[in-house]
């Protein structure tokens, strides 16, 4: 069973839906469950509740599903389809308020990186969540990125995976900026565009917070083991 959050794409157009799914699949590969629904039962533009329902059933796992849609009635049809599922499943299917293609790809990246349902949703919607859970009075730590490429792609994957291995709520930002982001989110961490020579700030709360910060600093200091 896949532990990755599923991505359901709903468009009025079959071509848009399948094309978007293809783009997400290119990023997520076989790791993330993807399904799409596009067009009405006659093959014209529209949305088909039955197809959406089948898609959701097909890709359902306990990890949950995010739904990306294009226009109003696609949202209503998605809601109607979700309401036909058992209640415990309904709670773990989130409709995202995001542009279809961009949202689906961001969701795919986050899901592929192991993000949980709330992370995938907030990333797709470009919402800052969980960042104000840490008080500014918590001490922050500094580390300079020595890695030649910076905190991108592979290093970012290693960084977020290490962060996820801790219970603690861990946040990171560029020292020159003010906005903290979730250190467990691949999309957020890559979004920092933290290149070689930049200084990162790290802070964390939770039982293993100190350990988390210490290990992450070591990872950055040792060039992500590369």
């Amino acid at each position: 069973m896949s532990d990755n959050v599923g991505v359901m794409i709903v468009s009025h157009s079959l071509a848009v839906a399948s094309g978007t799914a293809e783009m997400v699949r290119q990023i997520g590969g076989d790791n993330i469950p993807i399904s799409f629904a596009g067009g009405n039962a006659d093959g014209g533009l529209g949305t088909d509740v039955e197809v959406i329902l089948k898609g959701l059933q097909e890709i359902w796992t306990e990890a949950g599903i995010v739904v990306l849609y294009d226009l109003g009635s696609a949202e209503m049809s998605s809601e109607a389809a979700i309401e036909m599922l058992p209640e415990y499943q309904q709670k773990r299917i989130k409709i995202c308020e995001a542009p279809l293609v961009e949202g689906a790809i961001l969701a795919g990246v986050e899901s592929c990186g192991g993000g949980h349902l709330e992370q995938v949703t907030s990333v797709a919607e470009k919402k800052q969540v969980g960042i104000d859970k840490i008080s500014d009075s918590i001490e922050s730590h500094r580390v300079t990125i020595a890695h030649p490429i910076g905190l991108h792609a592979r290093p970012a994957v290693k960084f977020t995976q290490l962060a996820k291995s801790f219970e603690a709520n861990v946040q990171v930002k560029l020292e020159e900026q003010t906005v903290w982001v979730d250190a467990k989110s691949i999309v957020r961490v890559m979004g920092l565009k933290a290149r070689h020579g930049k200084v990162l700030n790290l802070r964390a709360t939770g039982c293993d917070a100190a350990e988390a910060v210490k290990k992450l600093i070591v990872l950055v200091d040792t060039n992500f083991g590369e």
Binding site: G39, N40, A41, D42, G44, L45, G46, T47, D48, V49, E50, L71, G72, S73, M76, S77, E79, A80
Partner: protein
């Protein structure tokens, strides 16, 4: 009696949509995506196709099944909206005969579900601009004993008034909202379809003793 009435309602409403298909599409082409006529027809034909099965059921089950059919077959916004209306009404339908007060409760539940599904209310240039005043009128009339003809007259007046009111409204929901102020001056196709259907149902109830 009940089976005959369900049949009359299904055939009557399906004919109504078929006759006004072009009008609905034309209105929708002005402020929407020009598919309201064809979508409504697809839904009502699908209901017509299962009318033998529906007329065997009690009113609540028949409403629910018809609502599910709209939901599944229409393929546009009217599917989930009409589906919510019918399924909502079915939730409040009594087992046996329906009296006027019980019907008022059914309609209120259906209208509430449409509001929830569309995240909308009166004044946004939608079917609710017809449904809400009709529902309120019915509620008022159910509390004052008036004869059937007057009741039906009152409903039709409210439905037509509600429809006409959408002409001057600016759409804030659905595809029409993209037009902003340019949506003003056109009747809303969803308000038109529900107004036509309400009038059709009123006529059926008025002229057939099976549906009294």
């Amino acid at each position: 009696m009940k089976a005959k009435c369900i049949n009359l309602l299904i055939t009557g409403t399906a004919t109504c949509i078929e006759e006004h298909r072009e009008l609905l599409t034309e209105l929708d082409s002005k402020i929407g995506d020009a598919d309201h006529g064809i979508n409504m027809l697809r839904g009502f034909q699908a209901i017509l196709a299962i009318s033998p099965e529906l007329s065997e059921l009690n009113f609540g089950e028949a409403l629910k099944k018809a609502g599910m059919t709209m939901l599944m077959k229409v393929g546009g916004a009217s599917g989930p909206l009409y589906g919510s209306l019918l399924i909502g009404m079915s939730k409040a339908t009594p087992q046996e005969e329906i009296n006027l007060k019980e019907f008022v409760v059914m309609l209120e539940k259906g209208v509430d579900d449409v509001k929830k599904r569309g995240k909308s209310d009166v004044g946004e240039k939608t079917m609710l601009d017809v449904l809400v005043p009709v529902s309120l009128q019915l509620k008022e009339d159910a509390n004052n004993i008036i004869d059937k003809e007057q009741l039906i007259k009152n409903i039709i007046i409210q439905a037509e008034k509600g429809l006409e009111a959408t002409r001057l409204m600016q759409a804030t929901k659905g595809r029409a909202s993209f037009l902003g102020e340019r949506s003003i001056g056109h009747l809303d196709p969803g308000a038109m379809s529900i107004c036509l259907l309400i009038k059709t149902i009123c006529n059926i109830i008025n002229s057939h003793k099976e549906c009294t």
